[in-house]
Symmetry: C2
Subunit: 130 residues, 2 copies
C-alpha cells in the first residue's frame, strides 16, 4: 500500500545535498508584525492558489484543511501592505481565488531568496572541511 502523501515538516527544510555523511540544512521565513508573514509553506500555498485559482483546491493539493488554508491566507493578507490574495464568491464552479499583482510580486521575490539560500547552502558545504 502506498503511503499517503503528506506535507511533512521536512517539506519546509532547504537542503544543500549531501557531502559524505553530511548535509547542510536550513529554514527561511519572513516574520511580520503578527508572527510569520511568509515562509516556505505559505509561499507554496500562494503558489497553489495561483495554479488552481481556488483556495480549497490549493488546500487539497497540500493535504491541508480548508479552514487552515483560509487562516493562512487571512494572516498573509493582514500582514501584507495590501492583500496578496483576493477571492470571489459564486458563479460557475462556486467562486475562486487568485493572487493580486502585489501577491505575484511578493511571491516571485520570496522564491528568489529561497533559491539563493539553497545556492548558499550548496556553496558553503562545498568549502566546509569535515
Amino acid at each position: 500500500m502506498r503511503k499517503k502523501q503528506r506535507v511533512s515538516r521536512a517539506f519546509y527544510i532547504i537542503k544543500s545535498g549531501k557531502k559524505g555523511d553530511y548535509e547542510f540544512r536550513g529554514k527561511f521565513w519572513i516574520e511580520g508584525k503578527d508572527g510569520t508573514f511568509l515562509g516556505v509553506g505559505r509561499a507554496t500555498l500562494l503558489q497553489k492558489i495561483k495554479e488552481y485559482g481556488s483556495i480549497s483546491k490549493a488546500a487539497k493539493a497540500m493535504n491541508m484543511s480548508y479552514k487552515r488554508a483560509w487562516e493562512l491566507v487571512e494572516s498573509i493578507n493582514k500582514q501584507a501592505k495590501e492583500p496578496l490574495v483576493i477571492t470571489h464568491i459564486g458563479g460557475k464552479g462556486g467562486g475562486g481565488a487568485k493572487l493580486t499583482p502585489e501577491g505575484e510580486r511578493i511571491l516571485k521575490q520570496f522564491w528568489e531568496v529561497y533559491h539563493k539560500f539553497e545556492e548558499f547552502l550548496k556553496e558553503e558545504i562545498k568549502h566546509f572541511k569535515f
Copy 2:
C-alpha cells in the same frame, strides 16, 4: 523580579534585523547520519565547553541539564569523523572537558557559515521590496 534567563527556541534563530514591520529569519544546521550533527545550540554548547573547560559548567551556562549536555556531546562525537570533545576524570576540580583540535576546527567553520548566513539575510532584506 527579573525573569529567569532561559535558552529559548528563539535563541537558535538567525535574524536580519527589521525593515519596517518585517524581518528575515532563518535556521541553519548540519545534518549527520543520525539526525542533527551540529546546529546553533550544539555549537554554542561546544563554545561554552571551550570557555569553561567543563561540560557541567557549560550546561549550567545554557540552562541545560547535565544529562542533556552529555547526550548532545555524545551525539556530536559519534557523528564526527573524530571526537570533537574529550573529557578527563578526577584530579583537582573533579575532571573536565575540552575541545580537540578537530573540535576547534569544525566549530570555527560552523561560526563562519553562521555569520555568512546572517549577512545573507541582512543583504536580502535590503533588496526585498515589501
